[in-house]
């Protein structure tokens, strides 16, 4: 027997969010290509609201992260001490930054003394692992790998300024690689990405994809 469809539930759960997404999206999309003052005003308002909702989304992410570590603390597994450290650090930083905001002294000190060295060091670590990974993986086996390795080599060598002393062709080669073939490839990828974004966005605006509903 076919399950009975509750129209009310269907309306509420499916159609209302879809209507909101489609309506708002289509209005904003049209407003981007329209010069109508009224529409532009509505679009600006909707976009402003979107910025606020996005801020709440950021808050949602933070809250989820806090909940995750809290649950881990409650569960008391091997990672519990680190979760405690995370929450403690977050609390301390929150308390230090909240009064004066991002431009306050405390925020600047925290950023300069804690966050920046940590993040920069994490990025710097990659150099070592990239080196070992390149030794293992960057071996020419196919023509595509040959192009890949050659381009990497040329750009890397060309990025060393003092090799320009040896020959000006080195930086020139690097510039050519970056400005012509690499640019073509990046542009092709960029175009493909743009088309994909358009297709995905249209699917969302037409209600085909509804990631926001059940």
């Amino acid at each position: 027997m076919q399950p009975r469809i509750n129209l009310g539930v269907l309306l509420r759960r499916q159609l209302v969010p879809v209507a909101v997404a489609m309506g708002v999206g289509l209005v904003v999309l049209l407003g981007q290509f329209s010069t109508n003052e009224g529409l532009s005003g509505i679009v600006a308002l909707l976009i402003a609201w979107g910025a606020i909702v996005a801020a709440f989304a950021l808050l949602l992410g933070l809250a989820n992260l806090l909940l995750f570590h809290t649950r881990r603390i409650v569960k008391r597994d091997a990672q519990t001490p680190f979760s405690i450290l995370i929450l403690a650090t977050a609390l301390i930083v929150f308390l230090l930054v909240l009064p004066a905001g991002g431009s306050g002294s405390a925020a600047q000190w925290i950023l300069r003394s804690v966050y920046q060295p940590l993040e920069a060091s994490f990025l710097a670590l990659l150099v070592f692992f990239i080196g070992t990974a390149m030794y293992r993986a960057l071996r020419v086996r196919t023509w595509e790998m040959a192009l890949f390795a050659l381009a990497a080599f040329v750009v890397l060598v060309g990025s060393a300024p003092f090799l320009q002393v040896l020959s000006p062709l080195i930086p020139a080669a690097r510039d050519w690689v970056v400005n012509v073939p690499a640019l073509a490839g990046v542009r092709g990828i960029l175009l493909g990405v743009a088309l994909g974004i358009i297709a995905t966005g249209l699917r969302l605006l037409t209600g085909i994809d509804r990631p926001y509903s059940e």
Binding site: A44, I47, R112, V127, G131, F162, Q164
Partner: protein, 1040 residues
């Protein structure tokens, strides 16, 4: 639908390969309507096309060939010992639905069954198959019987069996009036003899589908076990002499009566043509003879159709139907239908007309009197077709549901429930009395149930059926229903010696039965029982001196148990009934000659010990398996040649096979009455277990553990820790559709089992601590040194090789210097603190230049950290230049939305900046009302996402020029935007910052560190070269 055993995908019925995974598919399990041939789902009870009742068991067509037409290894299956205490076992009421309670063993989907069907019978002369060989459960394994039964049924389903018409003419006439249109098979419970499937192998023959149909059709006439046995015997052709008329014509597919079975039948030859059903005009369709008192089975229908030519009137048809149904046992014994093997494929036209012309047995069929005229002709014609039939299958003790007269006394009027017998709890497990009960035997038992008044009677009857007490067989069993009177697996059960005919089993002469049996062992296996169709009322053989089983002969007349003797191979029942341990003739035939020879050559040995396994079964059992009777090794070849059972087929095993083996002690106790001492030693001797099997303890030894369970019975006696087979077997087995997960699991398990044993790889225990210094550390050291050395030992001229004039940084600098003083630029700090190491120098250089030229700055950031970093730099810049004006708008939240809002509407007047100041309170608010009011937009982007966001959301909406200072990672994208004129210029990371510093005559960190950057880059480039060189060297050395 056919469900793929691998992935469970449903496929079309005729598919050979799965459409999903391309796995080999088993034949369709759909049931083919015997009337119209429409494939119906297995669970259907009526045909969707014509509405006829479907035989759920054997109605599927076997004509579809499957790709796996290759011989399979057939492992012998040794039935477990039956439980001894029959009284302890509750009599299972006869299953009403033979196919439902016990699914057919030999299903249409059995690949090997089809191959068996295709195997030519090795023997031409039909051997009088013991219609109901008195082999207990040891005589014919259920699976073997069912193989043949299914094959017979399949053959019958595709051909019309006309043998039913003669015999069942009276019953048909009687039944036709009352039965509903649907030709429903009588419930097996009505027959009460066999639990299901009309396994009359115990009475010496393999019941074919037609025979079963006949049995079922004659079910109404079967009043007792004896009746059924007699009928079955007739159908199986065991009681040749009792059959005065030629058996009813067989269905084409099943009327493959062996020549031997047909030849001696003096009944009229079968009618040459099969009239269409509509000509009979008795029942509207589907041979629904329920009105005359019985359920018509498919075999019976085939028989009716086969005999249709002889049916001239309604009365004839009724009589024929009644005969087939066994309603008028004394009248419905036409000439024994020669039992034919299915392989013989006697055309219905040839056989059935002859059979249809078989007159009703004058001495036995009361019903046949109503159609003697119709039948006499077929009888005569049957003689003419006897040679043809004899060629078909000699070994098929198919109880073709002939209407051969049965000379046995009329069966008892009522068929008591099996539970009334109370001998065996269920399934007619007579293993305790020395044998395995086949389905036919069970049917016979059920048919003869009225004559069983006590436990002793039942035991005696069972013994007779099992061939244990040949001399005790005095009555022909009542006719069995056609559909179930498939000749006992005369061909299936290859008895080495013709079992002495017991009451149930036709006393097949050794020569008569063994010859065809031995010659055509395989054909008999799958040979359908044309007698089932021909003789719907094959008499049940219940304690009768059943004539030599007509292995492939016409079955006994419905009301009689005796089956018509097989031509020259059928001898009068002078031999004692088959005892346990002796194979029925029909079984002997299917055994390899080596295995059957000893039995063939010798007279049926009457073994007094009922518990001793018949020799034919012994031969089928593994050599090291200590069965009751110790089957000799050679006979295992038969079993080994039989196909392996899949899980479904095993699940279709009859209960007696599922039941636990009887304890050795009890078997010994049972053996004593029989007096066979020789078997005792065999039964009690446990298996010779290999040395590695250390679980065995001597019998009678005290368990090592109080809770230890030591097996005391069976071949594994003395072994402890064995899973209780009885429990496992008796657990309810349900057929489940293999799911993909289960199929995958089973397949994986099978693969694992098939893999040879390999020593498991010993996993090295992981070292607790990693080595401090590894080869990777060399790389690390090299990179570190490359970075440190230029820092420590800086070149005199830092930034050696930097040529800003020829780089893209110059364009950036040009854009920067093009901003007039006192103008305002928008400086976006869209990078994180981690990227600040690379971009802070660039930002500082930019700010320094702007500050030096007194350009105002409005700072903004699309990430929370940017505002803080901007504040730091702007504060420091203001410290160097107090007149420097800047506004730090702070974090513009909303990502793309925020940027879009900024681009479209800028900030509202009441916007509070990072320092808490309202925008409209700033002096810059007077000159800047939108982004177009900026002289330059400088984007310092650390990630591609932020760069793209600015390019997509801001750049299309503003007219101000945009330049970008990016990390080296984002530089290729930035160059793309520069090329597309979306960016006016771009600055590349630390190098660009260094170049900018040089251009702006600044000395900053960038210039000092660019050398280190260069050296590390060179080291990494050298690593690329080294990697490829090493790879080439390895490849070269490898190729050498």
């Amino acid at each position: 639908m056919i469900y793929c055993p691998q992935c469970g995908t449903p496929n079309k019925p005729n598919s050979k390969f799965c459409k999903n995974c391309a796995a080999l598919l088993a034949p369709s399990t759909d049931i083919q309507c015997p009337i119209c041939g429409t494939a119906n789902p297995q669970e259907a009870t009526a045909c969707s096309n014509c509405g006829s009742r479907l035989t759920t068991t054997f109605s599927a067509s076997s004509e579809k060939t499957t790709p796996a037409d290759t011989p399979e290894n057939i492992t012998p299956f040794t039935p477990p010992e039956l439980a001894q205490d029959a009284e302890a076992l509750s009599n299972e009421p006869p299953s009403g639905e033979p196919s439902s309670s016990r699914p057919s063993f030999a299903r249409p989907s059995s690949e090997w069954l089809k191959r068996l069907n295709k195997t030519a019978p090795s023997q031409s002369t039909p051997t009088p198959q013991p219609a109901t060989p008195d082999t207990s459960s040891t005589a014919v394994p259920e699976w073997l019987r069912e193989i043949q039964a299914e094959a017979n049924k399949q053959a019958a389903a595709s051909r019309d069996v006309e043998t039913e018409s003669e015999k069942a003419a009276p019953p048909i006439a009687a039944q036709a009036a009352s039965e509903p249109p649907a030709p429903s098979k009588p419930q097996l419970s009505e027959i009460k003899l066999t639990g299901d499937d009309y396994d009359y192998s115990d009475i010496g023959g393999q019941v074919t589908d037609e025979m079963k149909a006949t049995l079922e059709a004659n079910a109404a006439s079967v009043q007792s076990v004896d009746d059924e046995i007699a009928l079955a015997r007739k159908l199986l052709g065991l009681d040749v002499e009792a059959v005065a008329e030629t058996p009813p014509p067989l269905a084409a597919s099943q009327a493959e009566a062996p020549a031997q079975a047909v030849a001696p039948i003096e009944t009229p030859p079968p009618a040459p043509s099969k009239p269409p059903l509509s000509e009979i005009k008795l029942t509207g369709d589907d041979y629904d003879y329920s009105d005359i008192g019985g359920q018509i089975t498919d075999e019976m229908k085939a028989t009716l159709e086969a005999n249709a030519a002889s049916v001239q009137s309604v009365d004839d048809e009724i009589a024929l139907a009644r005969k087939l149904l066994g309603l008028e046992v004394e009248e419905t014994i036409p000439a024994p239908t020669p039992t034919v093997s299915p392989r013989a494929q006697v055309p219905t036209d040839t056989v059935t007309p002859a059979i249809s012309e078989i007159p009703a047995p004058p001495e036995t069929h009361a019903e046949s009197e109503t159609a003697p005229s119709e039948i006499s002709q077929p009888v005569a014609e049957l003689e003419s077709t006897a040679p043809e039939i004899s060629e078909i299958t000699a070994s098929e003790p198919l109880a073709v549901e002939s209407i051969a007269p049965i000379e046995t006394p009329p069966p008892a009027p009522s068929k008591p429930q099996l539970s009334e017998i109370k001998l065996t709890g269920d399934d007619y497990d007579y293993s305790d009395i020395g044998g395995q009960v086949t389905d036919e035997m069970k049917a016979t038992l059920e048919a003869n149930a009225p004559s069983v008044q006590s436990v002793d009677d039942e035991i005696a009857l069972a013994r007779k059926l099992l061939g244990l007490d040949v001399e005790a067989v005095a009555e022909t069993p009542p006719p069995l229903a056609a559909s179930q009177a498939e000749a006992p697996a005369q061909a299936v059960v290859s008895e080495p010696a013709p079992p002495p005919a017991s009451d149930i089993v036709a006393e097949a002469p050794a020569e008569a039965v063994s010859a065809p049996l031995a010659a055509e062992p395989q054909t008999a296996e799958h040979a359908p029982t044309p007698t089932a169709e021909i003789e719907p009322s094959a008499p049940t053989v219940s304690g009768l001196e059943i004539e030599p089983p007509l292995a492939a002969e016409l079955p006994a007349e419905p009301p009689h148990a005796e089956l018509p003797p097989i031509a020259e191979t059928i001898e009068p029942p002078s031999k004692p009934p088959l005892e346990s341990g002796e194979l029925p003739e029909w079984l002997r035939e299917i055994l390899p000659s080596a295995a059957t020879e000893p039995a063939v050559s010798s007279e049926p040995e009457i073994s007094g010990d009922e518990t001793e396994m018949p020799p034919w079964l012994r031969e089928m059992a593994p050599a090291d398996l200590d069965l009751e009777t110790g089957v000799p090794a050679p006979s295992r070849s038969l079993l080994s040649s039989l196909p392996e059972l899949d899980e479904h087929e095993r699940g279709d095993l009859p209960d007696w096979l599922r039941e636990p083996p009887a304890p050795v002690q009890t078997r010994q106790a049972q053996a004593e009455p029989s007096g066979d001492e020789s078997r005792e030693a065999e039964t009690t001797a446990p298996l010779e277990l290999p040395d590695w099997f250390s679980g065995a303890v001597p019998l009678g030894a005290t368990p090592r553990d109080p809770f230890e369970v030591i097996e005391t019975t069976g071949p594994l006696a003395g072994v402890s820790g064995i899973l209780p087979l009885a429990v496992a077997i008796t657990e309810p087995h349900t057929l489940t559709t293999p799911t993909p997960v289960r199929s995958d699991g089973g397949r994986i398990f099978q693969t694992l089992l098939a893999e040879p044993l390999t020593p498991t790889a010993r996993t090295e225990p992981q070292a607790e601590r990693r080595a401090l210094f590894t080869a990777n550390h060399l790389f690390y050291l090299a990179i570190l040194l490359a970075a440190l050395i230029p820092l420590f030992f800086g070149l005199e001229q830092a930034g050696l090789g930097l040529d800003a004039s020829k780089s893209a940084s110059a364009l950036f600098y040009d854009q920067l210097v093009s901003v007039p003083p006192n103008e305002t630029v928008l400086l976006a700090f869209d990078y994180t603190p981690g990227q600040a190491v690379e971009l802070d120098p660039a930002a500082r250089a930019i700010l320094n230049d702007l500050v030096a030229r007194q350009v105002n700055v409005v700072a903004v950031s699309s990430n929370p950290f940017g505002a803080t970093m901007a504040q730091t730099l702007l504060s420091r810049a203001q410290e160097t230049q107090p007149k420097f004006q800047f506004v730090n708008l702070g974090y513009v939240f909303g990502n793309e939305s925020g940027l879009k809002k900024l681009a479209l509407g800028w900030v509202p007047a009441n916007y509070v900046d990072a320092n808490g100041t309202r925008w409209d309170a700033s002096p810059l608010a007077r000159t800047v009302r939108g982004m177009d009011d900026f002289a330059l937009v400088i984007l310092v982007a650390g990630e591609d996402a932020s760069l793209r966001a600015w390019m997509e959301q801001v750049q299309p909406n503003i007219h101000a020029p945009i330049v970008g200072a990016t990390t080296a990672l984002v530089e290729p994208q930035a160059r793309n935007y520069v090329n597309a004129k979306q960016l006016q210029a771009s600055l590349r990371g630390l190098t660009g910052a260094a170049e900018l510093e040089l251009l702006s005559n600044q000395t900053g960190q960038a210039v000092k560190t660019v050398d280190a950057l260069s050296l590390v880059s060179l080291v990494l480039a050298a690593i690329i070269i080294a990697a490829n060189v090493m790879g080439l060297l390895k490849r070269g050395s490898g190729s050498k």
